[in-house]
């Protein structure tokens, strides 16, 4: 894993029974309840509709060829960009949050965790509508800003600055609104892994560094950050991948061009009624993720 990992993994040959006892249940579960079910639509991706509901698996690659059209590659690129931006904002906002929780007094921690998690036990759709009520042109954010603007406008005019009248921020139905919505939805998926990594970090190390006179930024960069890296990595996985697959947020908050790849996939299974193509798009996405994750894992193994 990271530099912080001091444990040396052993060969299965030394503890064969433990190897099986640990590995078999999750791998068997994955095989039976994920790989087998997913094999069904994956077969469809090599087929074509012969009637409205009957799909003949012909082994044709036509659906995959279709996914490689510039039209769909552009949507994929755009989705990646939005998901990456979401992840970046989540790291920047989530790191100090996780740090603040991890370093809070013990009796406050459960409360702080609850503070972060509570909003997420309210239904996603309901929360997204509430966010729309905040962001829309005549929504609460703009109303609040308008009041603030009027308050500072009078004194500014007295001082000779003629401030223009307030124009509501056009946030709704833009890519920015999608970004805000995705950060809103995905933040705990960054905060929780980060918290899990930072919690019970060896304070001795930090204090020793401080005692030796290291300035705070240095302590952060040299001590805290390396310890947090596994958490950042898992947070990135848990934020980037689901963000890439979101469709409700771009649907409701996005503008005319905020289409993401999951919206297209969703329409194949619904409106367009093209399950073979929807499945092909899905498996392209899954394959890309798999290759990225496996490459990352292989790189780590080589490093350690």
């Amino acid at each position: 894993m990271s530099a912080a990992e001091s444990f040396v993994a052993e060969s299965p040959a030394r503890r064969p029974r433990l190897f099986v006892a640990l590995g078999l249940p999750p791998m068997a579960w994955l095989a039976v309840f994920f790989l087998v079910p997913m094999a069904l639509p994956s077969a469809l991706s090599f087929g074509q509709n012969v009637t409205l509901t009957r799909i003949a698996v012909t082994g044709s690659l036509a659906n995959y060829a279709h996914t490689l059209q510039p039209l769909y590659l552009r949507i994929l690129a755009k989705s990646l960009a939005i998901a990456a931006a979401t992840t970046l904002v989540c790291v920047l906002a989530g790191f100090p949050t996780a740090l603040a929780i991890a370093f809070a007094p013990a009796r406050r921690k459960p409360w702080l965790l609850a503070l972060i998690m509570l909003p997420f036990w309210t239904n996603l759709l309901v929360r997204t509508f509430a966010l729309m009520a905040v962001l829309r042109p005549e929504g609460y954010l703009n109303k609040g800003l308008g009041v603030l603007w009027r308050l500072i406008r009078a004194p500014a005019a007295a001082l000779g600055f003629a401030a223009p009248p307030f124009h509501p921020l056009a946030l709704m139905n833009t890519d920015v609104a999608v970004l805000i919505g995705l950060v809103y939805v995905n933040l705990p998926f960054m905060v929780l892994p980060l918290y899990a990594a930072l919690e019970r970090m060896d304070r001795g190390l930090i204090e020793a560094a401080q005692d030796l006179g290291a300035p705070a930024p240095r302590v952060f960069a040299r001590v805290i950050l390396p310890l947090a890296m596994p958490g950042v990595a898992s947070g990135v996985i848990l934020t980037l991948i689901p963000a890439l697959g979101s469709y409700l947020t771009p649907d409701l908050l996005g503008g005319p061009s905020s289409l993401m790849i999951a919206n297209v996939i969703e329409r194949q299974f619904h409106a367009a009624d093209d399950w073979p193509f929807g499945a092909a798009l899905s498996f392209v996405l899954i394959l890309l993720t798999f290759v990225a994750l496996a490459a990352r894992g292989a790189m780590q193994s080589r490093r350690s």
């Binding site: 709704m172 005319p256 299974f269 619904h270």
Partner: protein, 358 residues
């Protein structure tokens, strides 16, 4: 498409629905006169039934109705495509009646057991998507048009031009993100009938919408009336029934069916293949087509009803509302969107994707 009841007497309405649900939960599973279990699984849009319909049906027949919910026709179709998980009555829209029938997912109706079908208005007796009403009975109907905010729009915007082909209302326009409707209405604006569209016309529609895109604020998913009411946009493609609902909240809103004509839509009752209790299903459909039950439903939902006997029982505010019941001359320019095969709907879908990406 969203379906929900609004307007009058809502507290009572919702309480009635939940009571109906409760009845369903506690139903002792006995057998009815027809030998079927005295139960019925209705698969419907939420709150898309009269306040007391389910309770009344139980009182009349002893059959307890359990209502499950879907939000779009696509969801309904997808859920049935791999086998009926136990639903007896469903409520698809016209185009999906065709789709479900062609997919072998509907049972033909036994018309003998639905004597109340005589209550259906003549216009709905023999629609193109179901000649002779062998597969479905009409439940409600709607027509697409433009909802608009009177104070922000000059005069009556009675042309699709104002959303498809003009920047006069740039940044304040909402259009449907339903591919079929969008392409067909675009073609109607360009002077074509909305069926068998040649490829050049589809391309022309796409080019027009791509050109128009900077002026369009949002491609909505049938929440246009809410966006209009909230002031996010000032002119929007929507169904008459939906705009009629927000007009009750804001007198500055109005609705018009553009002069180029428009698309009709009708939700219908049907029985899916493999329905466990087909006799109860027929009994339910017949019950809903009755005058009193139909009026009860129209009273709650306030969408246009195709049930003539029910219409006679309704108040004037509903019957004479020109948004709910547009003049016949205007309706004469409207027609049903037809399901034209998978290749067609996929072509329309990709056209929409093209528009959204460019």
């Amino acid at each position: 498409m969203r379906r929900r009841s609004l307007l009058a007497g809502l507290g009572a309405a919702a309480a009635g629905i939940s009571l109906g649900g409760l009845d369903g939960c506690e139903a002792p599973v006995g057998r009815g006169r027809n030998g079927e279990e005295a139960r019925l699984n209705l698969y419907n849009w939420d709150t898309y039934v009269g306040a007391t319909t389910l309770r009344d049906f139980r009182a009349a027949t002893g059959v307890a109705v359990k209502m499950s919910l879907y939000a779009t026709n696509d969801e309904l179709f997808a859920r049935l495509a791999d086998g009926n998980p136990g639903f007896d009555v469903i409520v698809p829209s016209n185009e999906y009646v065709t789709r479900l029938r062609l997919a072998g997912l509907l049972q033909p109706l036994d018309l003998e057991t639905i004597p109340n079908r005589v209550n259906i208005l003549p216009t709905f007796q023999n629609p193109a998507f179901d000649p002779g009403r062998r597969w479905s009975m009409p439940y409600t109907w709607l027509v697409l048009g433009l909802g608009y905010r009177k104070s922000r729009i000059a005069g009556v915007p009675d042309s699709w031009k104002w959303v498809f082909d003009s920047d006069r209302y740039a940044g304040r326009i909402g259009v449907f993100s339903e591919a079929d409707d969008l392409v067909r209405l675009g073609a109607m604006y360009l002077g074509h009938a909305p069926r068998d569209l040649p490829t050049p016309v589809i391309d022309q529609v796409a080019a027009m919408l791509i050109h128009q895109k900077p002026a369009i604020k949002v491609f909505h998913h049938d929440e246009g009336q809410d966006l209009l009411l909230a002031g996010d946009i000032d002119i929007v493609m929507e169904y008459n029934g939906d705009i009629a609902q927000v007009m009750a909240e804001d007198p500055d809103l109005d609705f018009v069916i553009p002069r180029e004509g428009s698309l009709l839509d009708s939700d219908c009752l049907a029985i899916p293949t493999g329905a466990p209790r087909p006799d109860n299903a027929h009994a339910f459909i017949n019950f809903v087509l009755g005058a009193k039950a139909g009026a009860e439903i129209a009273q709650t939902i306030r969408y246009p009803t195709p049930n003539g006997a029910a219409l006679e029982l309704m108040d004037a505010a509903y019957r004479d509302n020109p948004v709910i019941f547009p003049p016949p001359a205007v309706l004469a320019r409207c027609q049903y969107g037809e399901f034209e095969g998978l290749a067609r709907s996929r072509l329309y879908d990709e056209t929409l994707t093209r528009i959204l990406v460019s």
